[in-house]
């Protein structure tokens, strides 16, 4: 993936963040992402993110599990190797329901976790750029993607006027990449300070 130029604005209050997000969007800037220390209700809506498709994926994984279980068990126990269990019919559907249920849950759960990791771009040994270390602690970090036409200084003062306590320009990798932390800059060694 390509490196891109970003303008980073840090906010210390949700109540300031929401109007700022709205103003940045209506001014026509493209928000790359907003990093928050905790899940903020309604922020996805304010940022104009579309509904996640994670649940659709989950449904598909689920029915895959259901059909795998039913197909597998019925082929084994009714066709390939029929055995007599306590005089029950070979196609003993009620006895298979618990296993079918378990496999449905297993497929859906594992599939959704992996899909979630893919969508959020997190995985072992995979690195992603941290725009601000305090985004995991007490700062709301709004990252705006720059184009050739973006005037960085204008944007920085625009953010400051809308309540950002700190602004910053970074050239960074936008997506995730395979790498090790010791070959890159450690996030907490970024000398980022906040003007109190």
């Amino acid at each position: 993936m390509a490196k891109k130029k970003f303008v980073v604005g840090c906010f210390d209050d949700e109540a300031v963040l929401f109007p700022a997000v709205k103003k940045v969007r209506s001014a026509g800037y493209k928000i790359h992402d907003v990093y928050t220390p905790f899940a903020v209700h309604g922020l996805d809506h304010a940022m104009g993110l579309r509904e996640t498709s994670l649940h659709t994926a989950g449904f598909i994984y689920g029915i895959t599990g259901t059909s795998t279980a039913l197909g597998c068990i019925s082929w084994i126990l009714a066709k390939d190797w029929p055995l007599n269990f306590g005089g029950k019919p070979h196609f003993a559907l009620p006895a298979w329901i618990p296993i079918t249920f378990e496999l449905t849950v297993l497929f859906a759960a594992v599939g959704m976790v992996l899909t979630f990791c893919y969508l959020c771009q997190i995985a072992p040994f995979v690195k992603k750029h941290h725009f601000h270390a305090r985004a995991t602690d007490d700062l709301f970090v709004m990252v705006i993607e720059c184009t050739e036409k973006t005037n960085v200084d204008d944007l920085k003062s625009f953010l400051s006027n809308n309540g950002a306590i700190e602004t910053d320009v970074q050239i960074a990798e936008a997506g995730w990449w395979l790498g090790r932390y010791d070959q890159d800059e450690l996030p907490f060694e970024n000398k980022q300070t906040v003007a109190a």
């Binding site: 309604g42 509904e51 649940h55 306590g86 005089g87 029950k88 009620p94 006895a95 329901i97």
Partner: protein, 409 residues
């Protein structure tokens, strides 16, 4: 809050409809009573009293589920239900009314010794029967009458106390201290109701009222199964009233987000009901012991086959597939449709639970069932409407009301 309409006025149409339904129901009741209820034929009597029993038990438990909903959300410190809590409160005022009908019907059946409904009333048969003899400490008229009285009486009283305290939130604003006290008192009263609910609906009452029709058969799952049935129907009933009130322009503070959460309850408890349905069925199917399979024999392989599996389709497959999507739970039309379907499905479930045991050879579903159903629906609409009109629709000064207003899913 100037634009909020606090006072519900009963529309003329609603009154006409409910009275018409009651009228139809009363005609069916009287005809049934004359031709069947006082008939000398035991089958006819069982048909009439059984039909009355499952309808009245169903509606009592469904309306009681509303109070259970309030108490459980109170105990969980829930705030989201406050914007429409007067709806379940109004529905729960039906408990004393339907409860007394249930009481009269059940006590009549026991006192007049209708042993073709409750086999354990037959003292001669019990004396010769080791299984029934072992159960006779629980299944005897004295215990039945005392426990039924206590159950219905305490549901009514504890529910009434819950509604009384809710009225205090209409009177004056509360500061932090009095608000905290108010919530604590709410919690204590809700706890009393919930414990009593667990001892009755969650365990003994379905065994006593319905399972004992098959006097020899037993299933520990039965009460939970009945509870799940009545709770999911109760949530559907709440959903229907909330949507009705929204359509009439009331409940301005209740939004799609609240409906979404009610829809989640309907979805989740449909699945919970299926879990219990299956757990009960599968264990008995697998063990294949005659004294247990006797319950399922005529339901799975006999005349009730159609209803038994239709029941599973209406109450499991439909909610699972239709209510799964987020957009479905936020769609007023779809939730209305599903709520009616679920209520009908569980009414049918109660039908086969009671009548499946009383009339094993023939399915009795017919004019009497739908007539009695219309009597109960009419009574429910009439009295819930009145109860809604008698109080403000908003718990204006409830400490958690704001939480409900900003509720977002």
């Amino acid at each position: 809050m100037a634009s909020i309409r606090e006072q519900f006025e009963i529309p003329g149409k609603m009154k006409t409809w409910s009275l018409a339904l009651i009228g139809v129901g009363l005609v069916a009741l009287v005809i049934g009573l004359v031709t069947k209820g006082f008939s000398t034929d035991e089958h006819e009597q069982a048909h009439f009293w059984g039909t009355l029993m499952y309808n009245t038990i169903f509606w009592t438990l469904v309306c009681n589920a509303s109070m259970f909903f309030i108490c459980v959300t109170t105990l969980a410190m829930g705030g989201w239900q406050q914007s429409f809590r007067r709806i379940p409160e109004a529905i729960s005022t039906m408990v004393p009314i339907f409860g007394s009908i249930t009481f009269v019907v059940l006590i009549y059946v026991v006192v007049t010794d209708k042993h073709f409904i409750y086999h354990w009333l037959d003292t001669e048969a019990v004396a010769k029967d080791p299984i029934l003899l072992g159960k006779s400490g629980f299944l005897n008229p004295k215990f039945f009458i005392i426990w039924t009285t206590l159950a219905i009486g305490l549901w009514s009283i504890l529910g009434w106390r819950m509604r009384q305290i809710s009225r205090e939130a209409d009177e004056a604003p509360m500061d932090n201290e009095s608000g905290a006290k108010f919530i604590l008192r709410n919690t204590v009263r809700a706890a009393f109701f919930t414990v009593w609910f667990a001892l009755t609906v969650g365990s003994t009452i379905p065994w006593l009222w319905m399972m004992s029709i098959d006097a020899h058969w037993y299933s520990t799952m039965y009460s939970w199964y009945t509870f799940a049935s009545s709770f999911v129907s109760g949530m559907s009933l709440i959903a229907l009233w909330v949507i009705y009130m929204k359509n009439k322009g009331y409940l301005e503070l209740t939004t799609q987000d609240h409906l979404h959460d009610i829809g989640k309850f309907m979805f989740a408890f449909s699945i919970f009901w299926t879990y219990l349905w299956f757990s009960q069925y599968m264990l008995i199917w697998y063990a294949n012991i005659p004294e247990e399979t006797v319950y399922f024999k005529h339901r799975v392989q006999g005349p009730y086959k159609g209803i038994f599996f239709l029941n599973l389709i209406i109450n499991f497959i439909c909610p699972l597939l239709i209510l799964m999507k987020r957009s479905a739970k936020r769609n007023y039309t779809l939730v209305t449709f599903m709520a009616v379907l679920i209520l009908f499905g569980h009414w049918l479930d109660f039908y086969q639970m009671v009548m499946g045991s009383l009339s094993k050879e023939t399915v009795t579903l017919g004019w009497l069932d739908f007539g009695i159903l219309s009597l109960f629906v009419g009574l429910m609409i009439l009295f819930v409407g009145r109860s809604l009109a008698s109080k403000p629709l908003i718990v204006k000064y409830h400490p958690f009301l704001k939480e409900s207003i900003i509720h977002q899913v």
